[in-house]
Point group: C2
Chain length 348, copies 2
């Protein structure tokens, strides 16, 4: 079986049907499916529909609530802390960002934090909600420990991501969506499967020595970007999304792949209204000009183009919306199995 191309809309409807079948209300199913399909559209397959079977299994094991209802735990004018009741991260994060946007429009900026929700998928989805309203969006979360502190050997912090979305005029919106590690664990697993060595600077072995052997790297820890700096970013993100929200932090965070326990994480989201600081039209013009200047600046040998953060993903999304999303045979099979198991009609 080969990789096949599937239209985003078809993939979305299939995911919605599957989620609906296990009891997720249809509007919530649509949000969850949109986050997964947007990841596939942008080329972040590790966060795409690939994850759907695990979501379903977690629900079937009673580890994830199908109906995500948010409770306000604490609210001030510019801030709110929401409890997601053990439900879906995508539903909780999308609702939280909408609340942050509402506060920002009224007061200039706003923050919404979430606890007791599952992993939210790609952070960029939520930053984009702000960007689509012409606001700046910031999204922070934590994850299961896979990085050692600088100088250490034990995994103590997740690759805790931060995403910042910045609206533009005619240029693609800036969407910096980055883990605090040099690479994601998935890239090392890929090298492992392909029997290849990994570049220097990606990981340490279990005794803290730099390694190019993917087996040793998986048994060891990922390296943060910039040594103490990436470690610092991971720590700050862990505190903002874990401790500030009353969620698990550091080694308390369970892996999203854990099918025996719930794996709640915390989120910290923020929206900033441009018009509270400047004329939005002038802002868009200046960011567009900066984008053009960066693109037109002199390139290193062998580099065909200079991108802004998120730009390659926008191009991929445009291409895939037109031609379809390539889905590999393994993922396709797992989706078919899932549809069969649940009695969902699947025409893909």
């Amino acid at each position: 079986m080969d990789t096949i191309l599937i239209q985003a809309e078809e993939l979305l409807e299939t995911a919605v049907a599957i989620l609906g079948k296990i009891g997720v209300p249809v509007d919530q199913a649509r949000t969850i499916a949109s986050v997964l399909v947007q990841a596939d559209l942008r080329g972040i397959g590790s966060h795409g529909v690939l994850r759907l079977p695990a979501y379903v299994h977690k629900v079937q094991c009673g580890l994830l609530e199908t109906d995500t209802r948010l409770t306000v735990i604490e609210e001030r004018k510019a801030t709110v802390l929401l409890d997601a009741g053990g439900g879906f991260g995508p539903v909780a994060a999308a609702e939280a960002m909408l609340r942050a946007i509402g506060k920002a429009k009224e007061l200039g900026m706003g923050s919404a934090a979430v606890r007791n929700a599952s992993h939210f998928g790609i952070a960029a989805y939520y930053a984009r909600l702000a960007v689509e309203e012409g606001l700046i969006g910031v999204v922070i979360s934590n994850a299961a420990a896979s990085m050692a502190p600088f100088g250490g050997v034990q995994p103590m912090l997740g690759t805790n991501p931060i995403c910042v979305g910045i609206p533009t005029g005619k240029e693609p919106a800036i969407l910096l969506d980055m883990a605090s590690s040099v690479v994601a664990r998935g890239k090392i697993r890929l090298a492992q499967r392909e029997g290849k060595s990994i570049p220097e600077g990606w990981a340490l072995d279990a005794s803290g020595v730099p390694t190019q052997d993917p087996d040793e790297a998986i048994a060891g820890t990922l390296l943060p970007i910039g040594g103490p700096k990436g470690y610092g970013i991971a720590l700050v993100n862990d505190i903002l999304s874990g401790i500030l929200t009353g969620s698990p932090s550091s080694v308390e965070v369970r892996s999203v792949h854990d099918l025996k326990n719930p794996s709640p994480v915390g989120f910290f989201l923020q929206a900033i209204d441009l018009s509270a600081f400047c004329d939005p039209e002038l802002f868009y013009e200046r960011v567009d000009a900066l984008t053009e200047n960066l693109r037109a600046s002199e390139r290193a040998d062998g580099v065909s183009r200079i991108y802004t953060p998120g730009e390659p993903e926008w191009e991929r999304e445009r291409e895939r919306r037109e031609n379809g999303i390539p889905i590999g045979p393994k993922v396709m099979e797992s989706l078919r199995d899932l549809a069969d198991e649940l009695g969902v009609q699947m025409d893909l």
Copy 2:
């Protein structure tokens, strides 16, 4: 002449006297001097009293206002944009952080942005103002271009720093104060003076090729942490502090060493009230426990201790408050010359 040890209080009073002599109001002189001396206390000599002669010369050349008065350009409940009228960055940033703190205490969080101010010295000073009030502080600024975009060769972005300060209980406050480059330009200048090569990964030569030659590096560009990630951080910080505030951005930012033109930059500051999200006491306990766990985690060979961000600087500050700040002969001489020139009595 050797390096001598000077008590922080004496260094502060000397700096206050010098600034007073050129017309800086005494309370403002005290803020500016405190920022410089705090940098020296924390071991960031490049941002310490070393900079005082340049400040004075900029004032003497009419490029920096002695009396920094802030004007409100735009204000919403949770945000404010201030114009510093071409005055001192430290005065403007300190006042801006106090306003952000005031808004955070009332609304849960607040932001203050500044334009038309000189470089503010160490970002940690302002994050610490929030931390001392039990709040989280965030400080972002931009600087003259010295890094190429990922894949590029021309300096297009500054090493634009971000600082996050997080209050703790009995453990030292977390103060992540980081440039988005692997190292500061000063470290390369130091290698140049000492005739040493620099490690791989610090810089590119003027044609975009990695170099270990400090001369080639100075003629080339600094490398961002984590390739596209550090580039993304520098870009986001440039937009938040430069474009959002109506300040120079990218190659428009003039070097702080430029003695022929004013070199205004923008700042973006934020304060977050813990109590808007959780019980502050529980927060302090959990951050303390996390700090202890990180410190107690297994270390790599040859590592004597694992630190949290800012912890080495706190230790240095404690030691230097007790024993004095080591000031090298060149800096000492420049301070004595300055004091002589201005007719300031200097007992150091």
